[in-house]
């Protein structure tokens, strides 16, 4: 676990870079978090996915998987990979300040 400063605020990230406490996150951190993931410009479509991840986490206690994102976010899986090339569920979860989506077993 490490403490990092994002948008002039100290936040705790775990070893994989996910927020330890999602309540430390705020929307003004998004551009900086996105840059850490290699995304220079946060488009409206990025925002659509990030807000959707956040709402799903708040409603269900876990972020959606890629498959569920493709079915429910209004953005197809192919487009999701164009937006978040390293893997939409994990990358968008990091930027949305929520834990790693649970790969239910």
């Amino acid at each position: 676990m490490t403490t990092t400063t994002i948008a002039n605020t100290d936040v705790e990230l775990n070893d994989e870079g996910f927020f330890v406490d999602p309540s430390q996150w705020s929307e003004d951190m998004v551009p900086e978090l996105a840059r850490l993931e290699g995304i220079e410009e946060v488009t409206d479509q990025h925002w659509q996915v990030i807000r959707f991840m956040r709402a799903e986490y708040q409603a269900k206690g876990t972020g959606p998987t890629v498959r569920v994102l493709g079915k429910t976010s209004g953005v197809s899986i192919k487009e999701l990979y164009q937006l978040f090339p390293k893997g939409p569920a994990k990358e968008a979860a990091k930027i949305a300040g929520i834990p790693k989506p649970r790969g239910c077993i």
Binding site: T72, L80, Y81, I105
Partner: protein, 413 residues
């Protein structure tokens, strides 16, 4: 009313039948056919060790006397009316509903999977037809790239694709052609398995057996004609023979029943009471739920005890028991007459030690004893698990004694 007469539906029906006299409760099970398949047996079919016929028994014969079986397709459930709409306009009303209709394969959701090459060089062993077709393909396979791929979680029995890899390695060695085969396991997970200690141990076994591991691969397309798995991120894995575990979903009628299921047609369920989130008089068990537990028969078995008690509490207007702890156990065949056993729950990952106590079966270690127990389990399934007879030493909650938190040992029995 119980929708589905598989593992969970049958054992819950039998438990409830013993709890209530025929005057107190009518118990109805609805299923679309009368063939009960022992699904764990499918793993062995591709290696010619068993046919599919021996894995099937008559569904109604598994029920205790006094359980009504209705063989038909469910169209939808009206939660508001407490009514199940069946095929041909038939309706049945219920006081308590148990959704036990399992998970279905949805290969058509993956681009190209059921296209060119399907059932020729692209197979699944998750259906009797697929397993039988794969047996023919495996017996005539003379070398090349054999790829085992899980498209995405959740799947039934998450260890089965790994077991397939181990058994394929053994099978190819026995045929004397292992050197001519490149065997690769392609998974959407970031390791061999989800839980850290087991993932490390199983990853080590793959390595030892010369099986290549490709992780975080989300299959977007299967090009059967060209022999390629294509990931959404653009990566490709070539194959001569592909064994694919397709996407899973809940029963289609769940999707046609307003308010019952989630986007994948699984039923949102309370993790500890097994009451659905759809309505207080609707419960769910086994693969049909959205719980973060394995989709496996052992889970349905452990859930059954808690669910039956909670149905009784509900009908007696008593508070429900939060009794289910996520208990799961699975035997993992590793070839050469050996198997591993893992035992875990929502909070405790699979750990080494012994099960169910300090003199029991070895956990997370290959042993002949575990292999024999796995083979013997089929008889236990029909004669103890489905009739819901107590199995000595095997309780619904996860045992802690016999387990160690120390580093995983590499010993053998």
């Amino acid at each position: 009313m119980i929708l589905g007469g598989g593992t969970g539906g049958t054992l819950v029906a039998n438990r409830l039948r013993r709890m209530y006299t025929r005057h107190q409760a009518e118990i109805v099970v609805v299923d679309q056919n009368d063939r009960h398949l022992y699904q764990p047996g499918l793993l062995f079919v591709p290696f010619g060790r068993t046919g599919t016929e021996g894995l099937v028994r008559l569904r109604p014969s598994q029920f205790h006397w006094g359980i009504r079986f209705v063989e038909t397709v469910v169209d939808n459930v009206s939660i508001a009316e407490g009514r199940v709409h069946l095929a041909k306009g038939m309706v049945l009303d219920y006081d308590v509903l148990v959704v036990a209709s399992g998970a279905v394969l949805v290969p058509e959701e993956t681009e190209g999977l059921t296209g060119a090459g399907w059932m020729e060089k692209v197979f699944t062993f998750y259906s009797p037809e697929g397993a039988a077709g794969l047996a023919r393909a495996m017996s005539s396979f003379e070398g090349g790239r054999l790829v085992v791929n899980v498209v995405d979680m959740p799947i039934k029995c998450p260890v089965a694709p790994l077991e397939f890899c181990f058994l394929a390695d053994w099978h190819l060695r026995r045929r004397g052609i292992r050197r001519r085969v490149e065997l690769t396991y392609v998974t959407p997970l970031d390791g061999a398995f989800t839980k850290p200690v087991a993932s490390e141990r199983l990853g080590g076994l793959l390595k030892k057996k010369g099986i290549e591991l490709v992780t975080e691969f989300n299959t977007g397309e299967v090009d059967g004609a060209g022999g390629r798995l294509i990931g959404y991120d653009g990566r490709e894995v070539g194959f001569d023979l592909a064994v694919v575990v397709p996407l899973h979903g809940g029963a289609p009628y769940v999707g046609r029943s307003p308010g019952l299921g989630d986007e994948l047609n699984f039923v949102p369920t309370d993790a500890h009471t097994l009451q659905s989130k759809a309505a207080p008089n609707v419960f769910a068990i086994g693969d049909a739920t959205d719980l973060p537990a394995s989709k496996a028969g052992s889970v349905a078995h452990f859930e059954g005890e808690v669910l039956a008690r909670n149905v009784r509490h509900f009908l007696s207007t008593e508070p429900l028991e939060p009794g289910f702890d996520g208990h799961t156990n699975c035997f993992i065949e590793t070839g050469f007459h050996r198997a591993l056993l893992i035992d875990f729950n929502y909070d405790t990952e699979p750990l080494p030690g012994r099960y169910p106590g300090s003199v029991g079966l070895p956990l997370l270690r290959e042993s002949r004893l575990n292999h024999l127990a796995k083979l013997g389990f089929q008889s236990l399934y029909w004669h103890a698990l489905l009739p819901a007879r107590p199995v000595p030493g095997i309780g619904s909650t996860m045992p802690v004694s016999g387990k160690t938190r120390a580093a995983v040992g590499g010993g053998k029995d």
